[in-house]
Symmetry: C2
Subunit: 347 residues, 2 copies
């Protein structure tokens, strides 16, 4: 197996910088659209053979160093008793607003309620056959709670923040239940064969550092510490956290995911040498000509300055109208430039 990705997660030195792309299995790939045209998004998530097929597509096409399970962060929330639909964005028909709503939520039995997720992981481990490691994933408690309270995406998450400030007991009860579910869900992924876990906190960065520390950190920290991490590194990505990496770091884990709103070198200085970082190319750079893509990849590798424990990635998911060959060129640049760099440093 190509081990650069898992080695980098453990801050071990590697021959070339490993790279994958958030949302690498997705709409920008014609081969994905071909599968997707035959079913709904939810059917795709729930049909192990199809979910495995689209998971592998970018590994073959892009040459990335890790596969990531195709699923949605809201998948495990549905069997808690939330009615989920995609129109096309995710919508819950029965958002959570009160303590009795929280009490009604149940903790799913993962293997029974979400058998397709575990089955997809098993197929993938077989089909990847040790080629590259498989990343499992889940939403961070705060991001899941946001969707459950708002019922859908939001600009300022007014309902969630109102609950947080005005009914902290309800908010805390919800966060605790979601965290417990997430621990069971992600440990089931690890038992099924996931070799790394990424936690996505898409909305944690909507909060001030003080509110993040008070309302979110204890729950994410419990989640990360509740995972069976002996052989499975954990990547923690909080979008919009450039101004509070020191707080995010306290949640634990092995690697901190970075968006593109700060210098990667400075991020490493804040986070310290014992944790890795993942990132952090602006996804829109993939619209640019090859010369600009190469320049930006080089800049980020230079900012890292050869420190072990860097996984290259975008700072957010790949956009749906990116030319696939630009994504492939970027992956190639990361490998080529980092290998040259590591040779030069040894030489």
């Amino acid at each position: 197996m190509k081990t650069t990705f898992l080695d980098a997660c453990r801050c071990k030195p590697v021959e070339e910088t490993p790279v994958w792309l958030m949302r690498q299995a997705g709409r920008y790939l014609p081969q994905y659209m071909a599968v997707r045209s035959r079913c709904t998004f939810l059917q795709l998530c729930k049909t192990p053979e199809l979910a495995a097929e689209v998971t592998i597509q970018p590994v073959d096409f892009l040459g990335v160093d890790a596969a990531i399970l195709f699923s949605d962060i809201l998948t495990p929330v549905e069997p808690m008793g939330m009615r989920l639909d995609f129109v096309p964005g995710p919508v819950f028909e029965n958002p959570v607003g009160s303590m009795s709503d929280v009490k009604r939520l149940r903790i799913p039995h993962i293997e029974q309620d979400l058998p397709y997720v575990i089955e997809t992981i098993k197929i993938l481990r077989r089909e990847l056959d040790g080629k590259v490691p498989l990343i499992g994933f889940g939403g961070a408690p705060f991001t899941l709670a946001c969707y459950m309270v708002e019922g859908k995406g939001s600009k300022d998450f007014a309902r969630t923040k109102r609950m947080m400030y005005s009914a902290p007991d309800v908010f805390t009860a919800l966060m605790e239940k979601v965290t417990t579910m997430s621990i069971e869900y992600l440990n089931a992924q690890i038992r099924g064969g996931a070799q790394c876990i990424q936690i996505f906190d898409t909305w944690g960065g909507m909060l001030s550092p003080a509110d993040y520390a008070g309302y979110v950190l204890p729950h994410t920290s419990r989640l990360i510490n509740g995972l069976d991490r002996v052989n499975t590194p954990v990547i923690h990505f909080v979008k919009g956290s450039a101004g509070m990496l020191d707080v995010v770091k306290r949640a634990g884990g092995d690697v901190i995911g970075l968006d593109w709103h700060l210098d990667l070198g400075r991020a490493r200085d804040i986070i310290g040498g014992s944790m890795g970082v993942q990132g952090n190319l602006d996804p829109t750079v993939l619209y640019a000509p090859e010369s600009v893509i190469e320049r930006e990849v080089r800049r980020i590798l230079d900012e890292n300055a050869g420190r072990p424990g860097h996984i290259f990635n975008l700072g957010h998911g790949i956009l749906p109208d990116i030319p696939p060959e630009n994504a492939r060129f970027m992956v190639d640049c990361v490998h080529r430039l980092s290998r040259k760099k590591s040779l030069a440093e040894r030489g």
Copy 2:
């Protein structure tokens, strides 16, 4: 005149921390809605008596320490040759896509093309009668260019970034023209009587620090240095800049505006003692009960730790469904707690 606001802009010590709210003249106020119901948004911007009326409303109701001209950042872009409509968000019917589009743009003669802006300022200086100072404002070149290229708001500003990366000559020509216009526009506001200028860069934080430094900073810097700042301090607010304050600082000006995504004390450490800061309460805190509002105001004042040069504000515009009395309570908290603090420190 109450001078705390202008004194704080110059980092002079003050008896109590001055405070105003971005978008303080707006939809959350019933008295604003009463005026707005009689005309369109553009008519309101272009009718000096009405624009002045809604500018003064929050000064009377909230007790803030500064008034800010009621207008829109796109107002001066229209006479450059861009057809503007609000539906209800701003839309340009003829977005900029090529060098010939840029060449067609003209630099307005402010007093002739935008007489209503200058007239509004003159009415306001008369009616405010020295009660509180009047802030004029404009959009930063990058934010204006984004709107001109996209034709409307956007999630990822793909058209603008494509132009920036793929046609840097067109992008630069556009930025230069917008900057020249902005210098003339804001100096006309100063001549008309504006006592402070705030530059809003709503979208600068969409860029990586490296791209901001390369593509935006030279233009914003030229704008700030082109203003007649002898008696008129300049506040520069780049939303989403928590991870690149050291870069933003290089653009110059007297005060840096902060959103709520970083600790105000840390921001001051990065920016240094020679510039002031403005911010940085999460706007959604105004949904919270009074006890939480007071706690959060106190936290921010504590983070500032009595350093001169702090103007209290929200980290972004006030939201349209905030109860007006909560905003007034917040303003009162800032005055009461900072005055107590400053007494305690002297004592």
